[in-house]
């Protein structure tokens, strides 16, 4: 199979990931409960995972790295902490349902949706400048669109938020492990990301990075192995957000995935992925019969296209029959499609990882 669906889940992982998961299942229990070697090993692993993530994402304290089930989990914590019924928030027009559905569920939240042309970061930054006029309680913004691979000007948006004193939540689902993501530089309130995409961890893992001074609301209450006589959740991290038995084997795999990203380097990963995306984009344009939403050079690991002859789902089905995995549809981001004008059709999305090659792209082009 040629796998081009890494924006959903990376399928090819470093071999160390599955080995670490297997080791953890057979050798580790849960940190902070028993105090025997199997529990200690789990505690050591969880701390190493937090420290490795803190180093990659410029988080000053590893306690502020929360192990979550996925990016959606982290986004729900962040959004429900900062947004209450009646509040106004500013979001980009390229958000995923992981952002828009929690906002909808809170109820009576006014959303200023900052629209802008694809791949026009200056226009997007200016839109956020206009949106932050004093009434906005929080900004929630994706770093890279999961549909179009458009990387938003998050440095500028973060600077605006700091200037205006508005807390920023970043959805780094598509950028973590590809683009630099820095808590220190952005000064964000929260940054959420999955473990199973660009960090090459197993499904069921994710990270929520908490900014300095944040006291997040606990989505779940329960045992933490700390302050057990107290019925309120601990007010310190990570315990406040990690009630119940942790996904230790998932964290073991995630740790290895993050180590892989750090050892290979973001620049090298991005270059490799861009080589594949560029090959696909240029090949499709040369072939004709496609609308190609290609990002500026080096920006993206995602490529959305529309065939002028058949719906995305039909084309994805044909490719699947030939052993090529892609995704068609709205990609859980109807807002992004509305903004880009593809709300009626959705798109066909190719999304690559560090394990893909331009030769795979050439093979797929020959099938189209």
């Amino acid at each position: 199979m040629i796998y081009f669906d890494s924006a959903a889940t990376t399928l090819q992982k470093p071999a160390s990931v599955s080995a670490a998961v297997a080791d953890a299942i057979s050798q580790m229990t849960t940190p902070g409960r028993g105090d025997h070697p199997a529990a200690r090993a789990a505690a050591e692993l969880m701390l190493r995972c937090r420290m490795e993530a803190a180093a990659l994402f410029d988080v000053p304290q590893p306690e502020n790295v929360i192990l979550t089930a996925n990016a959606t989990h982290g986004l729900n914590i962040a959004i429900r902490t900062l947004v209450a019924p009646g509040d106004m928030v500013a979001i980009s027009g390229y958000e995923h349902n992981a952002v828009t559905r929690p906002l909808h569920a809170i109820g009576n939240v006014s959303c200023r949706i900052v629209n802008g042309r694809l791949f026009d970061p200056a226009q997007m930054a200016e839109g956020f400048r206009k949106a932050l006029d004093g009434g906005v309680k929080a900004v929630i913004c994706t770093h890279t669109s999961n549909v179009f691979g458009y990387t938003l000007p998050i440095d500028d948006i973060a600077a605006l938020c700091r200037e205006k004193g508005v807390p920023l939540i970043v959805d780094a689902s598509q950028s973590a492990g590809i683009h630099p993501v820095s808590m220190k530089r952005w000064g964000a309130a929260y940054i959420a990301m999955p473990g199973h995409k660009g960090l090459y961890g197993p499904q069921g893992t994710g990270l929520l990075l908490c900014g300095e001074g944040q006291t997040p609301a606990a989505l779940m209450e329960g045992g933490t192995g700390s302050l057990s006589r107290q019925q309120e959740m601990p007010d310190f991290l990570p315990d406040r957000l990690e009630a119940g038995t942790q996904n230790v084997h998932g964290a073991a795999g995630l740790l290895e995935g993050i180590k892989f990203v750090r050892s290979r380097g973001l620049d090298a990963i991005r270059r490799r992925e861009w080589d594949v995306v560029r090959c696909l984009a240029e090949g499709l344009k040369a072939k004709g019969g496609f609308r190609v939403f290609d990002a500026p050079a080096g920006e993206s690991a995602v490529l959305s296209v529309l065939s002028l002859e058949m719906p995305p789902e039909t084309l994805a089905d044909r490719l699947a029959e030939q052993g090529v995995a892609v995704r068609a549809g709205l990609h859980c981001a109807p807002l992004a499609h509305r903004t880009a004008g593809t709300g009626e059709t959705g798109t066909l999305r190719f999304s690559v990882s560090a394990f893909n090659t331009p030769e795979e792209a050439e093979t797929v082009l020959a099938m189209l």
């Binding site: 902070g32 505690a43 050591e44 969880m46 306690e63 700390s226 057990s228 006589r229 107290q230």
Partner: protein, 84 residues
């Protein structure tokens, strides 16, 4: 032998205290202390020898990892709390 027990708020806190101290050459071990030492329930304690206590506390304060409470143990093992 005298020693001190530095109470942490969580296992992560205990691990980080231990790492900072071990990195500075201060040998420690951490463990679950008797419930009688903690008024709010489960905790961890990092054990430091009497001679290393001042340097350990200074390091932990510098790193923002100061313990929640500190107990002093005399040779016989009786513990008394140190006011911080």
């Amino acid at each position: 032998m005298t020693y001190y027990l530095l109470l942490s708020r969580s296992i992560t806190h205990a691990q980080r205290m231990s790492r900072v101290l071990e990195r500075a050459g201060i040998t420690v071990r951490f463990f679950r202390p008797p419930m009688g030492l903690t008024d709010r329930g489960c905790s961890y304690a990092v054990r430091v020898s009497g001679g290393n206590y001042p340097a350990a506390m200074e390091l932990l304060r510098q790193e923002g990892l100061a313990p929640m409470r500190v107990f002093y143990a005399e040779g016989g093992g009786a513990l008394s709390e140190i006011t911080m």
